[in-house]
């Protein structure tokens, strides 16, 4: 405590945390109840008391590069027991969102999804982009966006034929857009993570949370593998007492995303390697996995909304939260409806819904590094770092 430390408050940062749902932070009087009632806070340099004072002093640099903010799983025990209503859970959630914006880079893109007024712009990006690319291709005679799609006949016996979404929006067009988009997402994350890991390591050294001087990539990957079971089982979530009902919907959404990623991967291979076009049979095991995942996604999304509405008093829900839940639910609902309307042979409706579904997928991908969903990358890496560094 002898060293002098000149506090240089970043007032803009404090205000920004308020917008992101941390406006209660100034109520904190540093009693440290939060650090003790937190079921997952360590004994050495526990959180979130120290984050609360750093936040009210506007010490941005001490916070966004602090791995501890990612160890917090927003259980809410701290907010419930807080004697002042300072809601440390919400403040840490706001800091994480700020950190996502910081490491994501491209502040203008990040700003688009933190402002409800910009939602039409966010939706317009894929809607316009799909049309423009489709039209440009048409000028070169490539008809990948076909407004009068033909029916597909699987065999001579199939007299009536059926709808195939690819007839309207070609899989070539989908992949022409989504493959580069995925590369962009990976690149943005790679750039962000490089700075992120360097910062959390520097912070851990400064706060004496680790003995490791350097990061050994091989050991780091091994640590990452070690934390995967914890993440899959949602072990940290189940340690929460106040918000334990949150674990189930989170798990549903989490595993449905994994399921859908597997489905996408398999069908990608089926299409490009084996040249078999969709739509695939409803009793195809991969299709079943897709449907189960889709249902889990919708139910999980609905449960999340219910929990948030039930917890209005205890937990703030801001636009960043609604945006992600809306995206998840919209993705599941449009995906499911596109399939159902296709099976019901409602041509116009199913093409329209499919188009909207693609818009949802695009927004999810494009804004993945900037939205709250980026926590899946940053939290995983922070947990891996924590495992690697042997956080005391």
């Amino acid at each position: 405590m002898a060293d002098k430390y000149l506090v240089e408050p970043d007032v803009g940062f404090i205000k920004e945390l308020g917008v992101l749902g941390g406006d209660s932070l100034k109520k904190c009087f540093q009693c440290a109840t939060c650090s003790v009632v937190c079921p997952i806070s360590p004994d050495t340099k526990p959180f979130p008391r120290k984050e609360m004072i750093a936040a009210s002093w506007g010490l941005k640099d001490k916070l966004i590069g602090n791995g501890d903010i990612w160890l917090c799983h927003n259980c809410g025990d701290c907010s419930t027991k807080c004697p002042r209503g300072a809601k440390p859970g919400d403040v840490l959630s706001a800091i994480r969102m700020y950190a996502i914006g910081h490491y994501g880079g491209f502040p203008k893109l990040g700003a688009l999804i933190n402002d409800p007024k910009k939602l039409p712009v966010v939706a317009a990006i894929p809607a316009v982009l799909f049309l423009v690319i489709g039209m440009i291709l048409k000028m070169f005679g490539i008809d990948w966006l076909n407004f009068s799609p033909e029916r597909v006949y699987t065999s001579a016996a199939d007299v009536e034929g059926h709808i195939a979404h690819a007839q309207f929006f070609s899989t070539w067009l989908v992949d022409l857009i989504f493959v580069p988009l995925s590369i962009w997402v990976v690149a943005v994350f790679a750039l962000g993570l490089k700075r992120f890991v360097a910062d959390i390591h520097a912070n851990a050294l400064a706060e004496k949370k680790t003995d490791k001087q350097n990061i050994d990539p091989k050991e780091f990957v091994q640590a990452l593998i070690r934390v995967i079971p914890t993440i899959l089982k949602h072990k940290k979530f189940s340690e929460c007492t106040e918000n334990d009902e949150r674990a189930t919907p989170h798990m549903m959404v989490f595993f449905s995303f994994i399921g859908l990623a597997i489905v996408t991967g398999i069908f990608f291979v089926v299409l490009y390697v084996f040249g078999i076009h969709g739509p695939y049979s409803q009793i195809n095991p991969v299709k079943i996995l897709a449907n189960v995942s889709g249902i889990a996604l919708i139910l999980g999304g609905l449960l999340m909304i219910k929990n948030r509405l039930d917890k209005k008093e205890e937990q703030q829900t801001t636009y960043k939260d609604w945006f992600l839940i809306g995206l998840v639910l919209g993705l599941g609902v449009t995906g499911m409806l596109a399939q159902l309307t296709r099976l019901a042979d409602a041509a116009f409706l199913t093409y329209l819904i499919y188009y909207i579904h693609l818009m949802f997928v695009f927004v999810l991908f494009m804004f993945l590094p900037f939205s709250k969903l980026a926590h899946l990358v940053y939290r995983t890496v922070a947990m891996a770092y924590n495992e690697y560094a042997g956080r005391k």
Partner: protein
């Protein structure tokens, strides 16, 4: 030439509550010539102060000050006091109130000499509320040695039983009167001072601090009784689980105070009380270690600050900035481990001790039992807000705000003046 400038002492004042504030208001008003009625719900006067071992910061026994007040009451024909009495109804307005008071039966009349034969004869035992239920007293009992009025009481629980008859038969002075019933009387008064005092906050409501679950977690007021020579342990501080002398004691400050989930305000006295309690323990057990966990230590004013500085010099008293938010009990020896984050070092501390004292705060009695009147104004927390414009009724002492004895007395003196002004204005 002398001129008689004394204010005509017309009209009477009612003081509800016979604790230190009520007594002060009553005496100050009576000693300038006003008739005062004191209404006390307990069978004795003195209130919370009577339960204390010592005052801070002088560390003198409160009974000494109470005795002087009791003497003044006895000598003053202007004061009439009613124990076991409760206000049932108030009508009228400033200057002219009609107050209905219910007098509950004591079953012991003024013949009582405090010989104690009734208690010896009585077989039934009841929890001793004066000692917060830490021991039991007979169904016929003297609330405490220095009780004023010094007269035994029969608990309503033994009325109608063989015990009551045994008490009556044992009394040589025909002091036990089982025919007593509750009575109501109506008093006309010009002003009412509500000195209804406070209750220790119910520590069982603070679920993470383990009170009621673990025997060796007690409250600060319980410690006062343990330290008092007339308490359940005759002044020995022993841990409840096995009556062993504690070698280490942790104090949990702000137990329920400054907490929106309990009492949102600072109870004012708990820091000084715990510092005083440290002296109780250090005096009895020179090697005992004391750990005081606090958010902020509040020792207001020069004299309290000096007291705090003196305690701070003690090598066996450790101050830790950080609120205890978790407690665990060891299965074998019933020791308690308190958990806090030391906000100065930023490390969690797990301190295992023999005894834990929760520095619980004060909740105004009016928050639990509202006076039966409609025109009193309260804060959200149940403290009486005084409306001096309207006058007539006033809150004094801890009914008005959390306060120590000195401030309560100052406040109570002021309210005596306010009550007198109500009478004189008429």
């Amino acid at each position: 030439m002398t001129e008689n400038r004394a204010t005509p002492a017309s009209g009477s004042i009612m003081v509800v509550g016979g604790g230190i504030s009520g007594l002060t208001t009553a005496l100050e008003a009576a000693e300038v010539g006003y008739e005062v009625f004191v209404v006390e719900k307990n069978p004795y006067l003195g209130g919370r102060v009577a339960q204390l071992n010592q005052y801070f910061p002088k560390l003198c026994p409160p009974t000494c000050g109470l005795e002087i007040n009791f003497r003044r009451i006895k000598d003053n024909p202007k004061i009439k006091y009613f124990t076991l009495a409760e206000v049932e109804n108030v009508s009228g307005g400033p200057g002219a109130y009609e107050v209905t008071v219910r007098l509950n039966p004591r079953y012991v009349n003024e013949n009582c000499t405090c010989c104690g034969d009734c208690a010896d004869a009585c077989q039934a035992e009841i929890p001793n509320e004066f000692n917060f239920g830490m021991d039991r007293s007979k169904g016929a009992y003297l609330p405490f040695e220095m009780a004023f009025p010094s007269r035994y009481v029969l608990s309503p629980q033994i009325i109608g039983t063989e015990d009551a008859k045994r008490c009556q038969e044992a009394c040589k002075y025909a002091a036990v009167d089982l025919e007593m019933t509750s009575k109501t009387l109506t008093l006309s008064v010009g002003a009412i001072v509500w000195a209804t005092g406070w209750e220790p906050y119910d520590a069982a409501k603070i679920d993470n601090l383990g009170y009621g679950r673990y025997a060796n977690i007690i409250t600060n007021m319980m410690l006062e009784r343990l330290a008092s020579p007339n308490g359940p342990t005759k002044g020995k501080i022993l841990r409840p689980s096995d009556d062993a002398e504690p070698k280490s004691v942790a104090f949990v400050q702000c137990a329920g105070s400054r907490d929106e989930n309990h009492l949102p305000y600072c109870s004012y006295i708990c820091c000084m009380a715990s510092l005083k309690h440290a002296t109780y323990i250090r005096e009895r057990y020179p090697d005992a270690k004391i750990f005081i966990f606090y958010i902020d230590l509040r020792a207001p004013g020069y004299r309290y600050e000096k007291f705090y500085k003196k305690i701070k010099e003690d090598k066996n008293v450790f101050f830790i900035k950080g609120k205890v938010a978790e407690v665990q009990q060891a299965a074998d020896n019933h020791q308690i481990t308190v958990v806090a984050e030391n906000a100065v070092t930023g490390e969690k501390i797990r301190q295992t001790v023999d005894l834990v004292v929760l520095a619980t705060g004060m909740q105004p009695t009016a928050a639990i039992n509202r006076p039966p009147v409609s025109d009193l104004c309260y804060t959200e927390d149940g403290f009486i807000v005084n409306d001096f414009e309207k006058g007539g009724m006033f809150g004094a002492g801890c009914a008005n705000k959390p306060a120590d004895v000195v401030s309560s007395n100052q406040n109570a003196t002021g309210m005596a003046l306010k009550a007198i002004q109500t009478l004189v204005k008429r």
